[in-house]
Assembly symmetry: C2
């Protein structure tokens, strides 16, 4: 184990999000190879990073379409030149005017799961691309996939509305975040069989719907993604401790770490304090095996980025601005007060959102 | 129970933090009456709100000194005209230049709990006010209160440093957030007895230290706060569901609510979806009695603000931008898609931080 007493990031004054371009590119390239071979559009969800420069890296890799989770995020990425954007949350009817303006300027996709929402889209004058959201088991938003008559009625309703382009069926298998590889494979296949039948049914009342899936576990783990037209996963651009814990990625693939200043030494309880708290990492937690929640895992900063120590050291306490890391005794010597420690996030999307408007370093 | 079908907040398009000035003022006035009677300075922690206008309300109530949790927050409030600021987190040695600039412009207080940190303050040229942080049981930062020799050495070390004004001893009883009223009272008293002895000891190697305490539970619950010179509590300006659950406040005293647009109806599982997620409320959770975590409690918006329904409806699922509220069946009729629902936060400080740079409405 090599400690670096020299500070590799001299310029860092306060909690700073380090983003590794080589790791981001490796994570994305692995998926692109798979989706391109199978003729599937990869439309990554940029809520994970919300970073114009990371978006630029994706564009340089050939990605032309993105997914976002709010009108504000769509507007921000449109300003960065993105022209094909899906807002993957049921339409907020209080933002129709903004949607209308945006739809006039780019190819805008929205999702609906209720006839009242689709009806309200009449007020949009620009062409807008509409997907019906299905609930394939996650139990968040979307029409339960078994309610075929409701889905068909909505598909048919959209066909008659001027300016509305009914594109297809879209879902997010959030339940896969807590499933085994085998279970993900089985559910994916049975979902696609079910959706093939649904596609046939909808084709009798309109054009054949496209299919859009979007979750990091299935996108990462399954070799065969055929049957869908696009994939909207986003977390895989960074990955995080949650995904590593679930066996979706290796800890070494996590592409972001928070650099945090050491502000306290508490050898009597084998802890180091950093000025990094819930406002930097988010309060997302992961239970350790003994059920104690943790909020991040320590890494050692190096001139090239960071390395994973053999001994796992966890952030075990997190208040608004303080973090406490349980460390072996010798770490107090290696990490004096004023030095920097790296922390891998539990949930990179929420850490990235918390760090918006704070410090970033692209490495 | 009165539902308001008319939307009292027509202008709201997306998740918006409502801040009730009457409730803030009532919460603060209750404490000020107590501290002023006992000759204690109330130096509220503004990390709870981080809002210039709320700070202005506090100033109009006679408050002249504040507590913050970062140099950035100190700089922001100094720009708003605050001239007496305590940064209540151990000094981050990577920010000494910024501290120096700030200390030259206002009465700046910092805290230390390690000789290396105090020694490093030599680099600050402006006068700076220093408090020794003690750990009286919270186990976060601070020197354990029993390590009297270490505390005395630090107190003595500061006396000889030019520009350093050793002010006193400061602590935060974070453990009170999970304690009973009786336990808080007993611990407070035994702490003060212990600290009185420590004060005497320190007086032999320097001036008599002042005492600064700071937590919402003791500040709210204890009638007799005598013995300390200042109180730094902050959460009590807003309170939240955590404090209400702990018996520190009534739900009716919570001074902030998030107004969130309804985007989905799921009557088959008695749920309503709102466009409000972890990026708005934070991921802070509270276990319900049956251990299910909840992320907020629904309130009904009214022309004057909000009212608490008799039936408790909770946010039971929270992802990045989606929230799901478990509701009685009739709520689907009363809260159509496109209407607004109010949500009381679990932890108002983290919600306020998450909402920084997003929408606020002062009511």
């Amino acid at each position: 184990m090599v400690f670096h007493a020299d500070n590799p990031f001299q310029e860092i004054e306060e909690a700073t999000m380090l983003i590794s371009r080589p790791l981001v590119e490796a994570n994305v390239a692995r998926i692109l190879t798979k989706t391109e071979r199978q003729g599937i559009r990869f439309r990554p969800h940029v809520k994970t990073h919300q970073h114009p420069e990371v978006g630029h890296w994706l564009r340089l890799m050939g990605i032309q379409a993105i997914t976002v989770s709010s009108v504000e995020m769509a507007e921000a990425f449109h300003r960065e030149g993105w022209m094909d954007i899906t807002i993957a949350i049921p339409v907020n009817l209080r933002q129709l005017d903004r949607l209308d303006r945006l739809a006039a300027q780019c190819r805008l996709h929205v999702i609906v799961d209720h006839p009242a929402t689709l009806t309200a889209l009449e007020r949009i004058r620009a062409d807008i691309h509409v997907w019906i959201e299905l609930d394939t088991g996650a139990g968040r938003t979307g029409i339960p996939v078994g309610q075929e008559a409701d889905i068909a009625r909505l598909w048919q309703q959209g066909q008659t509305m001027p300016g509305i382009r009914m594109e297809g069926l879209l879902w997010h298998d959030g339940q896969f975040y807590h499933a085994t590889h085998q279970n993900i494979q089985d559910t994916w296949k049975s979902n696609l069989n079910r959706l093939a039948a649904l596609k046939d049914r909808l084709s009798t009342v309109g054009p054949t719907p496209a299919l859009s899936a979007g979750d990091t576990p299935s996108t990462t783990l399954l070799d065969d993604l055929s049957g869908v037209n696009e994939i909207r996963a986003g977390n895989l651009v960074y990955y995080d401790l949650m995904q590593a814990r679930a066996g979706i990625c290796q800890v070494e693939q996590i592409a972001v770490a928070l650099a945090a200043p050491v502000i306290g030494h508490y050898p009597h309880r084998a802890q180091i304090a950093v000025h990094a708290g819930a406002v930097h990492l988010s309060k997302e937690q992961l239970p350790l095996d003994d059920r104690q929640p943790v909020f991040g895992r320590m890494v050692m900063l190096t001139p090239e980025g960071w390395t994973i120590p053999d001994h796992s050291a966890w952030v075990t306490h997190l208040s608004q601005e303080h973090g406490l890391i349980d460390v072996p005794p010798e770490y107090h010597r290696h990490y004096p007060i004023g030095s920097l420690i790296g922390i891998l996030p539990v949930h990179s999307c929420l850490t990235a959102d918390a760090m918006k408007g704070r410090n970033h370093l692209l490495i």
